[in-house]
């Protein structure tokens, strides 16, 4: 399992998702906190490539043995790629939530939405107030 971290180069959504923005594209995933709360992941239900994902709405699910969790998109866009590695081995999102465990890559349709996301420092504060 990975150790707790919230990289400074990512943007965060209060539903425990992160985005790594590169031009008009972004890679999305779940935070260390999310994977830790869920426990070992055993299923990843991804969206279809080409589907539209909307900010603050569910684009898929991850499941542990005991729980199902919606994946909430931090940004609006079109799905360009699904991480097949996590489909085949969902525990990858536990082991490396910000690296090999990314979930989808999207083309952003409203890049200005990034202004509404949290910095690593803000997200860490949020976790402290939730705890």
């Amino acid at each position: 399992m990975a150790t707790e971290s919230y990289p400074d180069n990512l943007l965060y959504h209060p539903e425990h998702d992160w985005a790594r923005i590169d031009g008009d594209e972004a890679v999305l995933g779940i935070t260390w906190h999310a994977q830790d709360a869920l426990g070992e992941l055993v299923h990843y239900e991804p969206p279809n490539v080409g589907a539209t994902v909307g900010k603050d709405t569910s684009y898929g699910e991850v499941e542990s043995v005991k729980a199902v969790s919606d994946l909430i998109s931090p940004l609006t866009g079109e799905v360009l790629e699904v991480n097949q590695k996590v489909v085949d081995a969902p525990e990858t999102a536990n082991e490396d939530p910000y690296g090999d465990g990314w979930l989808i890559r999207v083309r952003l349709t409203s890049p200005e939405e990034r202004e509404q996301l949290l910095s690593a420092a803000d997200y860490k504060n949020l976790l402290e107030t939730e705890a």
Binding site: E40, H43, V65, K66, V68
Partner: protein, 333 residues
């Protein structure tokens, strides 16, 4: 920790999957002290229990245990339990935590003159130590399933019950409540892995042991639930007449085990469809040993044979599954 029937229970320690695998490959210990214990004693105890529990109590000698059902007057299941014959006129019933009160009330309601029913749940703690190395780690010799004896483990007096809920070899240890922590520490010191409610559920599901409240209950008769083997239909217990009728004409629905043939994890309450009918998932999970979704579901009896394809509605997505034979998971010989 989660609340469960008034108890604070650990769902997991290290994680459901490693705990599950520890029980399948070595040994794990579950604190099941939340279960209820009811003693029935007296010269009429045998008559009383024969008329109230589904299985044939006359098959039970002192030192033996039996899986049986506490049935409603129409053959539904108030609880499934294990009855231990402590001596000639004294029996111990180990009931599910959430059914402790309904079971006790039902027994009191049917109590005969000359038998006494006592809820002794608070006197006992119960630890289930299960797995292929459970006996070796506890320093116990192999014993016959569904028997019990008294022994000492690291100086602590225990009742060693050759019973369990995992499909593995193992024992359930009953001790006095004030020695529970000492016994737990002694078992852990012998290299047994602590395991929580989460692993207990996935282990029992892999071997198709029904869970009361999920798969069986007062609303389902024991024949439809696949527990006809625990009903001595030749004896005259509460609900026997109705169960004889159901058996004669055949149940309309049956509880069946299944495995997913598409990637998905079935969950309790999901609708099931088969050609010409429907049903419902009553238990579902990922099998940590098989690494596929597995479950139990009620389906029309006409569509209940192994090999039948089911379609499970996984939150709006149809996913295929197949009815399999019990148990879903079987150790390779």
């Amino acid at each position: 920790m989660v609340p469960f029937a008034g108890w604070e229970m650990p769902v997991q320690y290290e994680g459901v999957i490693p705990e599950h695998r520890a029980v399948r490959t070595d040994a794990g210990v579950f604190d099941v002290s939340h279960m209820g214990e009811i003693e029935v004693e007296g010269p009429t105890a045998r008559d009383f229990l024969q008329g109230t529990l589904s299985n044939d109590i006359d098959k039970l000698q002192p030192g033996q245990a039996q899986y049986t059902l506490l049935t409603t007057d129409d053959g539904g299941i108030i609880d499934d339990l294990i009855v231990y014959r402590l001596d000639e006129h004294r029996y111990l019933l180990v009931v599910n935590a959430s059914n402790r009160e309904p079971a006790f009330r039902r027994l009191q309601e049917r109590e005969l003159r000359g038998s006494d029913v006592r809820d002794v749940s608070d006197d006992y703690a119960l630890l289930a130590v299960q797995g292929p190395r459970a006996l070796e780690r506890l320093g116990l010799s192999p014993g016959k399933a569904f028997t019990f004896e008294h022994a000492r483990i690291d100086g602590i007096e225990v009742m060693v019950n050759r019973t369990g809920y995992t499909g593995e070899e193992g024992v359930e240890l009953a001790c006095m409540d004030d020695e529970a922590v000492t016994l737990w520490d002694a078992v852990i010191a012998r290299g047994v892995t602590p395991a929580g409610l989460g692993a207990r559920d996935t282990l029992r599901l892999e071997v198709c042991y029904p869970l009361h409240g999920n798969d069986i209950g007062p609303g389902w008769d024991a024949i439809s639930s696949g527990l006809g083997w625990a009903c001595a239909l030749g004896t005259d217990f509460a609900g026997a007449e109705r169960l004889r009728e159901v058996k004669a004409r055949g149940p309309e629905q049956k509880l069946v085990p299944f495995t997913m043939t598409e990637k998905a994890i079935p969950r309790q309450g999901m609708p099931v469809s088969v050609p010409g009918g429907g049903g419902q998932v009553t238990s579902g999970s990922l099998s940590p040993m098989l690494e596929v979704g597995i479950g139990l579901a009620y389906v029309p009896a006409a569509q209940s044979t192994a090999g039948t394809e089911l379609v499970i509605d996984v939150r709006g997505r149809p996913r295929t599954a197949e009815i399999v034979k019990k148990p879903i998971y079987k150790k390779e010989p």
